[in-house]
Each structure stands twice: as structure tokens, then as C-alpha cells.
């Protein structure tokens, strides 16, 4: 049974996603229970899978019984096991938020589960073309979800996201074509051995493929300067969707990038072609700095958080590109930690907006006393993001810096260390406003601008999600040694050590 889990993880949400569609014809409220049920199962399976991987190593699965290089293979190692679990847990958590925050339609939950399926598929697949398909399923669902906002500006944002995202995915597909031409295979493990054997690392075909695939994925990860879709999409989508996609879509794309680096091109390629590594590290560093600079200049909190993602993913990609075991552990920790923190932050902005109507940095002034719990969670999450120990944001950074120092990459070390201050620059401003400034918005708490008729704009579940995210942002630190052990079991073959 256990060896079937990878495929079940993908099929379950698809099946679950089909049901709300039918159910929505009967009842408008059927979507949520079905989705919850599905995702509880999904979380259980993902947990079981992660546990299996951590105890008995990599699980691989041949779809349809066709053996690896010909059929589609699903591979779950420590890295993908952790990400798959993250996807399941966060999507379940966001559901708790969505129960009140909506949207409530059946098709919404269909898309929601489709997105979960796409993300999980991207995580577990061991085939570069299959990855493309899941990338596009993820994209389609994400575009649809962004557009599900009531405002028409959501449609504009979604269209922008769609066009840029499609170009990114198409570039990736073109890169797959180059790899196929060079090696004649699409299986990741097979590619890893054939690149270098059949085509030299520095051959034009392989280099072009690398450039196209990595370039395509960085669009999805939203590294500077390919991030332009992200702020609009995050800021215009409904709160539920912002929390969900900000936590997961870029995260899983960054995971795919890592998978590409380690399981397809391998670290040997990075060593043989230093320019590839430098390009990636350079891009990441630029992203860290530029993302922070843009975040500082934002007035809207959600846009600020979106630009913050640009910066944080720079950090993650830098860790992966340095590619020493410690740096990879750090990047993974930051990848997972960022998902929790950013998701929580977006959820918190939703709660604060519903309760007080505040959406801008100035509007947040004095809200610390109006929404004490959410504001406190927001502050904790902000500090965690800045990297105040012992929160998880610090641990990731610690490992990445350690890896960069080990690689004697001093310029990167400097940027990584400075990123703390850069992050501080925009988060401190918000926390200061929250607690130490005179309120600029004076409407009474319960005359909230966004209500759905039930009188209460915010449910207990929504606040619980925010608080749990804040607690997790600190508590995850305790899980890091476990994660590290899990990664160390599966990473050495990837890192050739």
C-alpha cells in the first residue's frame, strides 16, 4: 500500500476536485466539506509517505507498470517528501481559513483541489515532461483562482500572470526539447547519467537546455526581473487565494528548480560549467536586493509582502545554487519555513483588512490594539521572516550562510547577511506602525467593510490559522534536525558525495 502513495497523492485531489463540481449543482455549500475530507486524507497520506521516506529511503513508482526510462516515474525522496507534506498541510490549513473567507462556490473548490493535485504532481514526478504538464495544471488552476476575486482587477492580474507564466512554462518546454534532442530521454534519473555521457556538460545543447529550463522556472519562482506578475496576482486575488498561492506556488516551483539542478543536471554540471552557477547565484543575489528595495517602496501591505517573496526566493535559490549539502539543507528549510510564514502573513493581512479595513502601511498604524491577536501573530511572523532567532527564518539563513562560507563565496555571504537588514527595513516599518503609531482608521471593529451577511467578518478558524502559522514559524525550528537527517539520507546521491 505504502508504495502506492505517490500516485494516490496526485489522484486523490483530482477525484476530490471533480466531486464539488457535481455537488455544487445540488448544494452551494458542498464544496468545503468535500475539499476538507479530501485534504485530510491527503495530509494523512503525505505524512505517511514522508515518514516512510525518512525511515526507509526513497520511494519510486512506475505509473502503469512501465519501467523507469520509458514510463512515467514518480520519485519521492527526502526533499520531495517534505515538500509534498508541506503542500498537503498548508492547503488543509488554508481551507480552514477559506470556510469563512470564501469564495464559496463549488468550482472554486474544484480548482483549489486541482491546484493541490498540480503542486503535488510537480513534487513527486521524476520525469521532466510530466513536470511540465503538472506545471501547467498548477498554472491553469492558479490563474483561475486568482481570477475568482470579485473585483475585475483580479482578471487583469490573472491575465498578466497567465501570459507571463505561459511564456515561462513554454521556455521550460523548449528546454525539455533540447534535452530530448541531446539525450533521447525524459526520465530525470536517466537524464542525470546521460548528460555528460552522451552530451558534454558544456555542449551547446545542454547549456541551452539549462538556460531555457532554469529561465522558465525562475519566471514561476518569480525571481527579479521576472517577478512582475507576482505582486498584481497576490494583491488582487481573494485573501484565501493569496495565502494559498503565496505559500505554495512559488515554493513548489523553486523545489522544481532544485530538482532540476540536482536530479537532472547534477552538481557535476554546476562544477563543470561555473558560469551556470554564477549566473544563478548572481540572479539570486540581485533578486534579494532588488526585491527588498521594491518592497520598501510599496504602500500596499500585500504588494510589499509579494515583493518580499521575490527577495526571499532569491535567498532560497542562492542556497540551492551554492549546492553544498549545508546550503541545500538551509535552502530547503527556508523554502518550507517561508511557505508557512508568507502564507500566515497573507492570511493575517486578510484578517486585519476584514476587521479594520486597513490595507496600506499607513493604514496599519495603531492596529496593534484593535486586532491584538492577529497583529501579534503578524509581528511574530515578520520577525521570523527577518530572521530573528530562534524562528525558522533564522535557521534557514544560518545554514545557507554556513554553506556559502564553506564554499568561500564571500560576496554571497555579504549579500545573505545584508538580506537580514534589507528584510528588516520593510518589516520593522510595519511592526512599528502596528504598535507605535496613532491610528489613521477609526471605524468601529465590527462595522467591518467586508462582511458576508453573518455579522462577523472573521471566524475563529481564520484567526486560528494565523496564530498557528505564527506558532509554526517558531516551532518548526525544532523539526529542523529531523528534516536535516531526512535530507542527508537522500541528498548525498544528489550532491555526489
Amino acid at each position: 500500500m505504502i508504495e502506492q502513495i505517490p500516485v494516490l497523492l496526485v489522484v486523490l485531489p483530482i477525484v476530490g476536485g471533480a466531486i464539488p463540481l457535481v455537488a455544487s449543482l445540488v448544494s452551494d455549500r458542498a464544496g468545503w466539506p468535500v475539499a476538507t475530507l479530501t485534504l485530510v486524507g491527503q495530509t494523512g497520506l503525505a505524512g505517511l509517505l514522508a515518514w516512510t521516506v525518512s525511515t526507509s529511503g526513497t520511494v519510486s513508482y512506475a505509473v502503469g507498470g512501465f519501467a523507469a526510462p520509458y514510463g512515467i516515474e514518480l520519485v519521492v525522496d527526502g526533499l520531495s517528501g517534505a515538500v509534498a507534506l508541506l503542500v498537503a498541510v498548508i492547503s488543509l490549513g488554508v481551507l480552514a481559513y477559506a470556510r469563512k473567507a470564501g469564495p464559496h462556490s463549488g468550482p472554486f473548490y474544484g480548482l483549489y483541489l486541482l491546484l493541490v493535485a498540480g503542486l503535488t504532481g510537480m513534487t513527486v514526478t521524476g520525469d521532466v515532461f510530466n513536470l511540465y504538464v503538472f506545471l501547467e495544471i498548477t498554472g491553469l488552476a492558479a490563474y483561475g483562482l486568482v481570477a475568482s476575486g470579485r473585483d475585475a482587477s483580479a482578471a487583469v492580474a490573472a491575465l498578466k500572470y497567465l501570459i507571463i507564466g505561459t511564456v515561462g512554462a513554454s521556455l521550460y518546454l523548449l528546454g525539455v526539447g533540447y534535452l530530448l534532442a541531446a539525450t533521447g530521454t525524459l526520465n530525470m534519473a536517466d537524464l542525470a547519467t546521460k548528460i555528460g555521457e552522451m552530451a558534454a556538460y558544456d555542449s551547446t545543447l545542454v547549456l541551452t537546455a539549462f538556460g531555457l529550463m532554469v529561465g522558465g522556472l525562475t519566471v514561476k519562482v518569480a525571481l527579479f526581473p521576472l517577478h512582475t506578475w507576482q505582486p498584481d496576482a497576490y494583491a488582487n486575488a481573494p485573501d484565501t487565494v493569496s495565502a494559498f498561492i503565496s505559500a505554495l506556488v512559488s515554493t513548489v516551483s523553486a523545489y522544481a528548480l532544485a530538482r532540476l539542478l540536482f536530479s537532472v543536471f547534477t552538481v557535476e554540471f554546476l562544477t563543470a560549467v561555473p558560469v551556470a552557477r554564477w549566473a544563478l547565484v548572481g540572479l539570486a543575489c540581485v533578486s534579494i536586493v532588488a526585491g527588498s528595495a521594491l518592497a520598501v517602496s510599496q504602500d500596499s501591505v500585500q504588494r510589499m509582502l509579494a515583493y518580499s517573496s521575490v527577495s526571499q526566493f532569491g535567498l532560497v535559490v542562492a542556497g540551492f545554487a551554492i549546492a553544498t549539502p549545508l546550503a541545500v539543507v538551509g535552502a530547503t528549510v527556508h523554502l518550507l519555513g517561508h511557505a508557512v510564514m508568507k502564507g500566515g502573513l497573507f492570511a493575517a493581512t486578510g484578517v486585519i483588512e476584514r476587521k479594520t479595513g486597513a490595507t496600506t502601511v499607513n493604514g496599519y498604524a495603531g492596529m496593534g490594539s484593535r486586532v491584538p491577536v492577529s497583529a501579534f501573530a503578524f509581528a511574530v511572523l515578520s520577525l521570523a521572516m527577518v530572521g530573528v532567532p530562534p524562528a525558522v527564518g533564522f535557521v534557514g539563513k544560518w545554514y545557507i550562510v554556513l554553506g556559502a562560507v564553506n564554499a568561500e563565496n564571500w560576496a554571497v555571504v555579504a549579500v545573505l547577511l545584508a538580506s537580514t537588514l534589507l528584510t528588516l527595513a520593510y518589516f520593522a516599518r510595519l511592526v512599528e506602525r502596528l504598535y507605535f503609531a496613532e491610528a489613521t482608521i477609526h471605524s468601529k471593529p465590527d462595522e467591518a467593510p467586508v462582511t458576508d451577511g453573518s455579522g462577523q467578518a472573521v471566524s475563529f478558524g481564520m484567526i486560528a490559522v494565523v496564530v498557528i502559522a505564527a506558532a509554526l514559524a517558531v516551532a518548526l525550528t525544532a523539526a529542523v534536525p529531523e528534516l536535516q537527517a531526512m535530507l542527508e539520507d537522500t541528498l548525498p546521491p544528489l550532491l555526489n558525495q
Binding site: 549545508l326 520577525l383 527577518v386 530573528v388 532567532p389 530562534p390 533564522f394 535557521v395 544560518w398 545554514y399 550562510v401 554556513l402 562560507v405 564553506n406 555571504v413 547577511l417 545584508a418 537580514t420 537588514l421 528588516l424 520593522a428 512599528e432 504598535y435 507605535f436 503609531a437 496613532e438 525550528t477 525544532a478 529542523v480 534536525p481 536535516q484
Partner: protein
């Protein structure tokens, strides 16, 4: 090493108090009761470890694996105990004082204030007991975060600006510490504190080892207010006075100094320091800072700002003592940690008491105030004498050791000794006028203070510390009358609008010597702190601190040799 829960208990006791304090928002008496109980409990736990530590036991508690090869672990050794004991002792004193001060001024957000205070103390004790650099760093950062609400307490533009500056400086320092910690870890494979230094560092690549030292010293130097990283400290004086007292004379700045002590004694060790040649630059910076800050202090009219520059100067005494790497200098430097804490706390408390009672903040307004607040000003005089190194007060003992240590130096000792002595003279120069005019002058007839009133080089509108511009603040804020609870703890702010500071129209009234000048909530702590500094100056061994310091120094064969 003994496994013991006591280190973590000492930290947790005030951590646990935070939610309790927050939940008692509507019952201030119970809330303050909790604060005091916890303060006493914390002190009791820490004090209970003193005999053990003096006899060579170390109490250890491992919280768990934090990252590769690094544990989140606490260990009470003599050095940690010195700082922990000091901080927890003075927390009690300060808690009493805070109650008097905050209620005296009817401050807003008192709950947040007391909660942050408890958090700060938890982190400060964490800094004290951390058994490796990373744990130290974790607590160091938490200390920054938990003191930020205290600095920004006023919620005025000025307070926010000071808070921003504070965060920027200290987090910048934190980044440097992080960088240094990573380097040390990579070079030595561990960051655990070992008396006399981590061995592997001695054999590591000297350039990198120096770089790591520079990063660590710079990082901790921010909180230790080494020049040129000091300018957050005078600005942070906008905080309520108990905060300035405990945090900016004791916990926060001392955590920086303590970090440097850890780096010098337990990470690098005196021998490696000498081999790397990093001690002398550090000593030079410290000597420069202690002289320059003293000179700047001369020109501060605001009492709290003058005290702030005095702090900058005195902290460098400690750093200098550490950097000289001589037995006596070390003893002096380390003893100056508690000595300065007691004296400076007294001084800040006095300043606060004057502020609460008379709303006077500028020294030029204080002529004859000895009549109004005789006990306060007496305590002030005692502490000021100690600062200058007059015998019988704590400062004398530590400075004595420091100067002897400097003179023991093979070369250049005279320079450092001279710097110390000159600074002592400057100390007198900036403290004596305050005491003098408090007792021997009256508001109607007092001498001019050319240093303060006459601008340097004839330029006006520019303050000696360069960064501050109270005048512009006041001008830009015109028309916006601050709400009563937003009284500015630097005082300047309000002068334009209403008569806050200075003597009342008919001169200071006479309140006598029996405590009519203020509440005992404030007088008590002031007198306690002053008494403590006298005790440390007269019977330093009985007052335990010198014994702890001796234990620390005797654990360092590299120094004794």
C-alpha cells in the same frame, strides 16, 4: 559540569510571566505584584548558584540540537553568573522604581512596558548563561526585539525615530555577530565557550580568524556603544528613565560588553588574541571612545544625554580592560561591569526622579535643586564620585585595577593609563558642576556654563554630538500639542509649549531630608543602588562580585602566565 534545571528556570521564570502580565491589564496592582515576585524569584534562583560556582561547579542545561553540531545550551560559569546576578539583582531595584516612575507620570501602555521588561530580562539572562556563540546570538537578538517596545514606548515621532535607529544599529550588529559566528564555526567546528579560547582557532587561517574577530567585536561593539557605533545610545534616551537605567546602563549595553568578554576570554582566549594581534586595535578603539565620549559629555545640557555619553565612555573602560589582556586589567574591567551598573543606575534613577517630580531635564535648570530633592541629589553625588574614581565608591576599585593593569603592560601601558586618568578628570569635570549647582547655587544667581551655552567655533544651532537636532524637532512639531501621557522623557519637546522644566516661579521649595521630595517607590531604589555602589567600593569581596571576578580570572591560565 552539573546537569541542572536552574539555568533554564532562571530564564523561563520571567518568560512565563509575560502572558500573565499581559492578561492582568486591568489589574495593575496584581500585575506589578507578579513583576516583583518574578524578579525576586529570578534573583533567588541565580543567587542560589553563587556558592556552587565559586567552588568550581558549573550548572549546565541543554535545550536541544539547534543546527549542525550546535546545541541550544545554557551553562552557568563565573562570567555568566557575574552578568546574570547583576541583571537579576538590579531588575528588582528597577521594578520598584518603575512602579513609582510609571505611576508618577501616569504613563500609557504600562502593561506592554512591564511585559517587555520581563522579556528583556529573560533574554539578558539568556545572554549571560549561553554556553556557545550561537545561543548567545539567539538571546542577543531576542534582547534587541524585546527592548524595542521599551525604546519606542513614547509613540512620538522622536521615539519612533530612535526606535528605528536602535533596530538598525543593533540588527546591523546582529548581522555582524552572525557572520562572525558562522566564520568561527567554519574555522573551529564548534562555537562552544572554552576558558582560554577554542584551540582550533589558534591554528586556523589567521586572516579569517581576524576577520571573524573583527565581525564579532564590531557586532557586540554596537551594543557596547564603541565609537563610531554609539549614536543609537543617546537617541535611545527618549525611553522612560527606568528603561534607560536598567537597559541602557545595565542589560543591553552590558550584553554587548559581555559578548566582547566572551569573545576575548572564551572564544579566542588571550594567547590567540595576542598572536593574531587583534587586542591592540580593540584597546585603541576603546581608549579613543572613552576619551571622546567624555569630552562630548561635557557639552550635553540634557541630563540624560550627558549620562548616556558617560555610559559610552564607561563601557569602554570595560572593553579596554578586556583588551589589555593583563590579569589586573581584566579584574578591573570585569569588576567595572557591576560597579558601573550600580553607579549609573543610581544616576539614571536620580535623573528620572527629578523628571517625575519637577519635570526638569536640563542641567542648566537645576541650579539649587538640592534644596528640593536633597536625598536624590546626595545619591547622585555619591554615584558621580564613584564614576570619577573617588575612593570608597565602587568605581574606585575597578579603576584602580585597570590602571595597575595598564601600567603592567610591556609597552604602551603609559598611554592607556594616561587615557584612563584623563578620562577620570573629565568625569569630574562633567559631574561636579551638576552637584555643585544643585547644592551651592540658586536659580536666581548661577554662573554661566560657557561650554554648554557657547557653541564650538562660534557656530550655532549645532550640537556637539552632531546627530541630534532638538531645535528642528521642536520647530517642526509646533502647533501639535502633545497629549499629557506623551510626555517626552528627554524633556526638550515640551519646553516650547508649557512650562515644564526648571524651577517654579518662587524658586525651589525646601522638602527636607526625610523623603518628602518624592515617593518611596523611587527614593528606595535610588538609595539602594547608591548603597550597593558604596558596598562594592568598601567591601568588594563581601559583596561577592569581586570574588566572582577573581574566579573568572584565575580560570584563565593564559592571563596568569
Amino acid at each position: 559540569m552539573t546537569e541542572s534545571l536552574r539555568p533554564i528556570l532562571a530564564i523561563l521564570v520571567s518568560t512565563v510571566a509575560i502572558p500573565v502580565i499581559l492578561s492582568l491589564k486591568r489589574r495593575p496592582n496584581v500585575r506589578e505584584g507578579v513583576t516583583l515576585t518574578v524578579a525576586f524569584a529570578k534573583f533567588a534562583i541565580i543567587a542560589s548558584m553563587v556558592p556552587g560556582v565559586l567552588s568550581g561547579t558549573q550548572y549546565e542545561f541543554v535545550l536541544g540540537q539547534f543546527a549542525t553540531g550546535i546545541e541550544l545550551a545554557f551553562n552557568v560559569d563565573p562570567l555568566g553568573l557575574l552578568f546574570g546576578l547583576l541583571a537579576s539583582l538590579l531588575w528588582i531595584v528597577t521594578s520598584f522604581y518603575s512602579i513609582g516612575y510609571m505611576r508618577g507620570l501616569d504613563e500609557h501602555a504600562q502593561t506592554r512596558y512591564f511585559a517587555s521588561f520581563a522579556a528583556s530580562l529573560a533574554s539578558a539572562v539568556g545572554v549571560a548563561f549561553a554556553s556557545n556563540l550561537l545561543t548567545l546570538f539567539v538571546c542577543y537578538e531576542l534582547l534587541t526585539v524585546s527592548t524595542y517596545p521599551l525604546v519606542t514606548h513614547d509613540e512620538t515621532d522622536e521615539a519612533r525615530a530612535a526606535g528605528r535607529k536602535y533596530l538598525a544599529y543593533t540588527f546591523g550588529g546582529g548581522v555582524a555577530v552572525l557572520g562572525g559566528t558562522v566564520l568561527v564555526f567554519v574555522l573551529a567546528g564548534t562555537t562552544a565557550f572554552t576558558p582560554d579560547g577554542i584551540e582550533a582557532l589558534a591554528t586556523a587561517d589567521p586572516t579569517l580568524a581576524r576577520a571573524a574577530f573583527a565581525l564579532l567585536a564590531a557586532g557586540f561593539g554596537v551594543k557596547a556603544a564603541l565609537m563610531p557605533m554609539h549614536s543609537w545610545l543617546p537617541d535611545a534616551m527618549v525611553a522612560p528613565t527606568p528603561v534607560s537605567g536598567l537597559l541602557h546602563a545595565v542589560a543591553v549595553v552590558k550584553s554587548g560588553v559581555f559578548g566582547i568578554a566572551r569573545v576575548v576570554l572564551d572564544v579566542y582566549g588571550p594567547v590567540t588574541m595576542k598572536e593574531l594581534g587583534v587586542a591592540l586595535p580593540l584597546a585603541a578603539i576603546a581608549a579613543f571612545t572613552l576619551l571622546t565620549a567624555s569630552i562630548i559629555a561635557l557639552r550635553q545640557d540634557n541630563l540624560k544625554r550627558r549620562l548616556a555619553y558617560s555610559t559610552i565612555s564607561q563601557l569602554s573602560y570595560i572593553v579596554l580592560g578586556l583588551a589589555l589582556l593583563k590579569e589586573n586589567a581584566l579584574t578591573g574591567g570585569l569588576l567595572h561591569i557591576p560597579a558601573h551598573a550600580f553607579m549609573k543606575l543610581t544616576l539614571f534613577f536620580c535623573a528620572g526622579a527629578i523628571h517625575v517630580e519637577t519635570h526638569t531635564d536640563d542641567i542648566s535648570d537645576m541650579a539649587g535643586i538640592g534644596k528640593r530633592m536633597p536625598l536624590t541629589m546626595a545619591a547622585f553625588a555619591v554615584a558621580a564620585a564613584g564614576m570619577a574614581g573617588i575612593p570608597l565608591v565602587a568605581g574606585f576599585v575597578s579603576k584602580w585595577y585597570l590602571v595597575i593593569g595598564a601600567l603592567n603592560l610591556e609597552s604602551g601601558g603609559l598611554v592607556f593609563a594616561a587615557a584612563l586618568l584623563v578620562s577620570g578628570v573629565l568625569n569630574i569635570a562633567y559631574f561636579w558642576p551638576i552637584v555643585y549647582q544643585a547644592y551651592f547655587e540658586s536659580p536666581e544667581g548661577h554662573d554661566e556654563k560657557p561650554l554648554i551655552e557657547g557653541p564650538f567655533g562660534g557656530r550655532s544651532e549645532l550640537r556637539a554630538d552632531g546627530g541630534d537636532s532638538d531645535e528642528t524637532h521642536a520647530a517642526s512639531d509646533e502647533g501639535e500639542v502633545p497629549e499629557p501621557e506623551h510626555v517626552d522623557h528627554l524633556g526638550k519637546h515640551d519646553e516650547e509649549h508649557e512650562h515644564h522644566g526648571g524651577p517654579p516661579a518662587g524658586g525651589w521649595d525646601d522638602r527636607g531630608w526625610r523623603g518628602g521630595e518624592s515617593t518611596w517607590f523611587m527614593l528606595g531604589p535610588i538609595l539602594t543602588a547608591a548603597t550597593l555602589s558604596l558596598l562594592l567600593g568598601t567591601v568588594p569581596y563581601t559583596a561577592v562580585f569581586l570574588r566572582i571576578v577573581d574566579t573568572i580570572v584565575s580560570n584563565l591560565p593564559g592571563v596568569m602566565a
